[in-house]
Amino acid sequence: MAQDARGSAAESSDESSDESATEPATEPADETAILDSSDLNRVLTRISHEILESAKGATDLVVLGIPTRGTLLAHRLAAKLSETEGVPVPSGSLDVTMYRDDLQLRPARALGHTDIPAQGIDGSTVVLVDDVLFSGRTVRAALDAINDIGRPAVVRLAVMVDRGHRQLPIRADHVGKNVDTKLGESVRVRLAEIDGVDEVVLVRNQPDPALTGGLL
């Protein structure tokens, strides 16, 4: 159960699973590819250059991902940044579970891993990374979490997919791909480290609620 709970908490950053509970899906999953593995890699490269452009270099950059897939993307992004600039760029993981505004709406969920680089984030440029930007509630929680850890000079937001339907006044600074979605659909970012393949797909019918974990 611990493993399962961790696994489903891992999904919590994927906001796309949010609406899956609204209809009891009976039809099989209908997936449309959005990005394949080489697209995804090119998108990460472009975002890394955008980050360097806006931050004017890689000094004082800290890349923090929201578990689970945001963290993996953050590590990849940091590797690209340090490769381009030739300086080490620290990356880490920021769990936002305890800062969510829907904690009381569900049974307590397992926590993700938080791992802040040793030098901290005070005065640095923090690039927050998540896989899918949807309601904006996860990002709001992340901003609160950052506030408890330190005082960065700047916080930027980078996401692989922006699927619209924002419920809060939040926007991303760096977007891999804007995707028009309906509320009943969901966007799934799969990464080789845990899903065995790099791809982004649009899912129309959710066949298995367990896959989405029923988490926001």
């Binding site: 159960m1 611990a2 609204t22 993700g112």
Partner: protein
């Protein structure tokens, strides 16, 4: 899981989940703001009918670090000393809107009574009842062992734990034996026959009367406090004889590996069940146990109170 009453109520998965959650909570101790918002607006009542220093403070610190409001209730100086019953006290707390009640009581089964009576709606957490159970102590002991021996992941499969001393009066021993067994550790209890409870043969542990025979190969040595306040008759001839035969002194420590973990739930009787030098030795993690108590209790409070009701479908 709504209440935490007994260590044996925890499945292997639940126990590991609590320890994993505690490991995440521990990262908080390095932060400048030692506070998480998870229990904002929740009220935790510490209902202590029996004296306690570390357990009460530990629960209070844990609840406050999760942003809960904490009400401390000590039986001394309350209406309990005027003869108020547990039921009436519980109804009063319910009327005040307690989301969780942390209870310590000298009567075994008091937390069970509180949880099953319908007097209160909130979660009940057993912080020690009589000679019966002290589940959060067992969890913090398991967490401390896992940190030192298993790199703070997984369970305690194959860890050899020797628990010495007053098993008869010890709720810590009962809870530890059950939880350590669930987590896969091998437990040996060492005590004089007079300080072992009836039916100890049915516990999932090896029982021995000879300390020097049992010690070799131990990964963890846990000394239990000789509970004089619960002793109304003679359980051993003299303290000197007890400490010679069952006291964990420097000489016995020296015969073990340098990596052995020495534990004590506190408060200690130095020189009786544990040698003065042993308590202060590098192998002793007794002070760390107290620190781990806060993180483990944060994990328990978060997992019991951090979410909403479980059975309302999957709310949007």
């Amino acid at each position: 899981m709504k209440h935490l009453l007994n260590a044996h109520d925890l499945s292997h998965e639940e126990a590991v989940l609590i320890l994993d959650t505690a490991a995440e909570m521990e990262t908080l101790t390095d932060r400048s703001v030692k506070k998480l918002p998870a229990l904002r607006g929740r009220t935790v009542v510490n209902l202590f009918f029996e004296d306690s220093t570390r357990t009460r403070i530990s629960f209070e610190a844990a609840a406050k670090r999760l942003s809960a409001d904490v009400i401390n209730f000590a039986a001394k100086g309350s209406s309990v000393s005027k003869g108020e019953s547990l039921k009436d006290t519980a109804l009063t707390l319910q009327a005040m809107g307690a989301d969780a009640i942390v209870i310590r009581h000298s009567a075994s089964g008091a937390p069970q009574q509180l949880a099953s009576s319908g007097w209160v709606d909130g979660s009940v957490i057993n912080a020690g009842d009589g000679r019966h159970q002290h589940p959060t102590q067992a969890l913090l002991d398991a967490y401390t062992m896992r940190k030192h021996l298993r790199n703070n992941t997984g369970d305690l499969e194959g860890v050899k734990v020797t628990i010495i001393g007053d098993v008869l009066h010890s709720r810590v021993a009962r809870s530890n034996v059950q939880l350590l067994h669930t987590l896969g550790a091998d437990v040996t209890l060492v005590a004089p026959p007079t300080l072992l409870p009836v039916g100890v043969q049915t516990w999932p542990a090896t029982v021995s009367y000879d300390l020097d025979e049992s010690l070799p190969g131990s990964d963890v040595v846990m000394c239990l406090r000789v509970q004089r306040e619960r002793m109304n008759e003679a359980f051993f001839p003299t303290e000197r004889e007890f400490s010679l035969r069952y006291g964990f002194d420097s000489e016995r420590l020296a015969r073990l590996s340098d990596d052995v973990v020495v534990m004590h739930p506190g408060p200690m009787n130095r020189g009786l069940e544990i040698g003065d030098a042993v308590a202060d030795s590098p192998q002793s993690v007794i002070v760390e146990q107290v620190a781990n108590g806060v993180t483990v209790r944060m994990a328990v409070l978060y997992l019991l109170l951090g979410g909403g009701p479980a059975d309302e479908g999957t709310p949007r």
